[in-house]
């Protein structure tokens, strides 16, 4: 009896196995960072000289101990902080674009902390699903309430959010279902690039498997993913390439086929 078997028995179905992918990584660069540095006023710059390209249909895992610049890296890619260097989305320079423009260019973001950055807990599910998609679910200056509710129902259906309907406030959902809603909100519009920060943190194995499956499916359809996680199994299981972040810099690039948690651990703690 190993962990996988135990988890499968708990959810009552086979979990998708790690690593196996039948599709190929594409040729086109979808997200690229070049000499990216996040400027901090009162402390050492939290991200320094980070460069990478993510190709179509590729998942890059960013492994690291929390607090080594991953959060700031995500904020920089999203356009929330001051940076030096460049960010390109879908081949176009986005360094000077604001958050909304980057989202419109095909970026999506599953945030680190669903309560802090993701959800309006007191608001209904459909309003939560609407957040970030107001422009496409409006008619003129007005919210198209029917379309917004329908879009939320589709997310509930497709991502298996356990809820009586889309009108209940978000706080009544369990953590896993809240996360499925956040993931669904970001994947529903088929983004070109997904930044997924701890997409399965603190949720049960069933929900975790569902989120992984959805990310894989979107990847197979061509989506590029920057996967930031503290869960090494998640990193090793999903990534096509692994970057290790230590003290604000990329300290290693590894191949998941040959990497092990032990090797990753050494780079993550700066002992290698």
């Amino acid at each position: 009896m190993d962990r996988l078997k135990l988890a499968e028995l708990m959810v009552g179905s086979d979990l998708p196995s790690h690593g196996k992918r039948t599709t190929k990584v594409g040729e086109k660069v979808q997200l690229s960072a070049h000499n990216l540095t996040v400027i901090a006023k009162d402390r050492k710059n939290p991200v320094r000289n980070v460069s990478f390209d993510i190709f179509e249909s590729e998942i890059i895992g960013v492994a690291g101990v929390d607090g080594n610049g991953q959060f700031e890296l995500c904020e920089a890619l999203l356009g929330l902080v001051d940076i030096q260097g460049t960010v390109e989305i879908g081949g176009k320079d986005a360094s000077n674009s604001n958050v909304r423009q980057r989202l419109d260019q095909g970026l999506a973001y599953i945030p680190f902390d669903r309560h802090r950055e993701g959800l309006m807990l007191a608001a209904s599910l459909w309003e939560n699903a609407l957040l970030g998609h107001e422009d496409s679910l409006s008619r003129g200056p007005m919210i198209d309430v029917d379309a917004a509710k329908k879009s939320c129902q589709e997310i509930i259906e497709r991502f298996g959010v356990m809820t009586p309907n889309e009108l209940v406030p978000a706080f009544v959902l369990s953590g896993g279902n809240q996360q499925k809603l956040v993931v669904g909100r970001n994947l529903a519009k088929a983004p070109k690039v997904l930044i997924a920060a701890h997409p399965t943190r603190g949720i049960d194995v069933g929900a975790q498997a569902a989120v992984w499956e959805e990310i894989r499916r979107s990847r197979d359809a061509g989506m590029s993913v920057l996967l930031v996680s503290a869960d090494l199994e998640e990193i090793l299981g999903l990534s096509d390439r692994i970057l290790v972040m230590f003290d604000g810099e990329i300290s290693a690039e590894l191949d998941p086929k040959s990497a092990t948690p032990q090797i990753l651990g050494k780079y993550m703690t700066g002992t290698q």
Binding site: R116, S138, P141, I143, N165
Partner: protein, 369 residues
């Protein structure tokens, strides 16, 4: 599967409205009981006092006065509520509306338009002036991170002195010769028609219109959604690409624009000008109470403004029958306090029940499947 869902839905929205109404009504009753005890302690008969309030308040004469007194409160409370919806506390409605009153009253005398246009011009000037004054606090918050509670309170004092200086130095018109100095009288074309002669003017209709527009904009528009999202979770809103600074600026200016209308029932409906002793003050602060009591919802706000107007309209009569008229202010204050406490308690209970219901609904769905 869709049947139980839809019935559950209708039931949910009715349940929510009932919960809100119930908690507000019970809060008002509780406040009246507390005031009754206060009256009793000070040696007055609470039943006589409440009897008097009802007796005088329900005459058609006082009902008209209630509507009249409610009008500026509706504007003021809507102004406050716009800010509240994104956790922005505009305590500066007071300064904004007095500034707007002076500027609008003065500008009105420098133009000549036919009637509806002249009135519209004055209202627009008032809204622009209110918005301009409010935008100072917004700029301070955006550029220097200054808390708007502090800046709007301070700007009230600055507004009062600034208005006094402007009025005394430039806008004062002594041609009337009376003690009650005002700006030059606004021409008849700029005066709001009365609904009931000398008792209630058309600004009451405009107040209801503004309350309706508030609902449309805040609860139905894309901008309103972004405003509420910024209030419900500012970090999530920012992460979803809603520009925080721009929302602060627009919300503050909208709030100031509505605040600019607070004194208009007097300026273009009663006084036909601005005068330091002719334009009533304190509506800015009363608006905070009304917005709290009305829970930032347009229907709640209109209801709360009517209640406050009703109580205000009876205070003069109370004085005559030996009951201190200040009891009205005490009742109002206690109602607001009790409402805030009861709302908090009942919304917790409501949230818990909602969570339980959702869990039950889920279970029954699972059983059916």
């Amino acid at each position: 599967m869709s049947r139980p869902l839809s019935s559950q839905r209708n039931f949910d929205s009715i349940r929510k409205s009932l919960n809100t109404l119930g908690s507000s009504v019970s809060a008002i009753i509780l406040a009246l009981i507390i005031c009754g005890v206060l009256l009793l302690v000070t040696g007055k008969d609470p039943f006589a006092a409440y009897g008097k309030i009802l007796e005088t308040g329900l005459t058609s004469d006082k009902m008209l006065e209630m509507l009249k007194r409610a009008t500026p409160l509706i504007f003021s409370a809507i102004a406050v509520a716009i800010g509240f919806k994104m956790n922005l506390f505009n305590i500066g409605v007071e300064g904004q509306y007095l500034f707007a009153a002076l500027i609008a009253a003065e500008m009105a005398t420098h133009v000549s338009f036919p009637r509806p246009l002249h009135i519209l011009f004055i209202l627009v000037v008032a809204m622009v002036s209110g918005a301009a004054w409010a935008s100072i606090a917004a700029f301070l918050k955006i550029s220097r991170g200054i808390n708007e509670v502090i800046s709007t309170i301070m700007l009230n004092y600055i507004a009062l002195s600034f208005i006094q200086w402007l009025f005394e130095s430039f806008f004062r018109d002594d041609s009337d010769g009376g003690l009650n100095v005002k700006t030059t009288k606004i021409a008849p074309s700029g005066r709001m028609p009365d609904l009931v002669h000398d008792r209630l003017n058309g600004m009451f209709i405009i107040a209801l219109l503004v309350a309706f527009l508030y609902w449309v904009v805040v609860f139905r528009s894309r901008f309103g959604f972004q405003l509420r999202a910024s209030g419900l979770n500012p970090i999530a809103a920012r992460t979803a690409g809603i520009p925080a600074n721009r929302m602060v600026l627009i919300a503050m200016m909208l709030s100031g624009a509505v605040a600019g209308l607070v004194a208009m029932p007097a300026v273009i409906g009663d006084v036909y000008g601005y005068g330091p002793s002719a334009i009533a003050t304190q509506f800015g602060f009363a608006g905070i109470s009304v917005a709290l009591l009305g829970r930032n919802h347009p229907i709640g706000i209109v209801g709360a403004a009517l209640l406050f107007g009703f109580l205000d309209s009876t205070s003069a009569v109370l004085q005559l029958s030996g009951i201190p008229s200040s009891i009205v202010k005490v009742i109002q204050a206690i109602i607001v306090l009790v409402v805030v406490i009861v709302n908090e308690a009942s919304s917790r209970r409501y949230n818990r029940r909602t969570a339980e219901r959702a869990a039950m609904a889920l279970k029954s769905l699972e059983v059916k499947q």
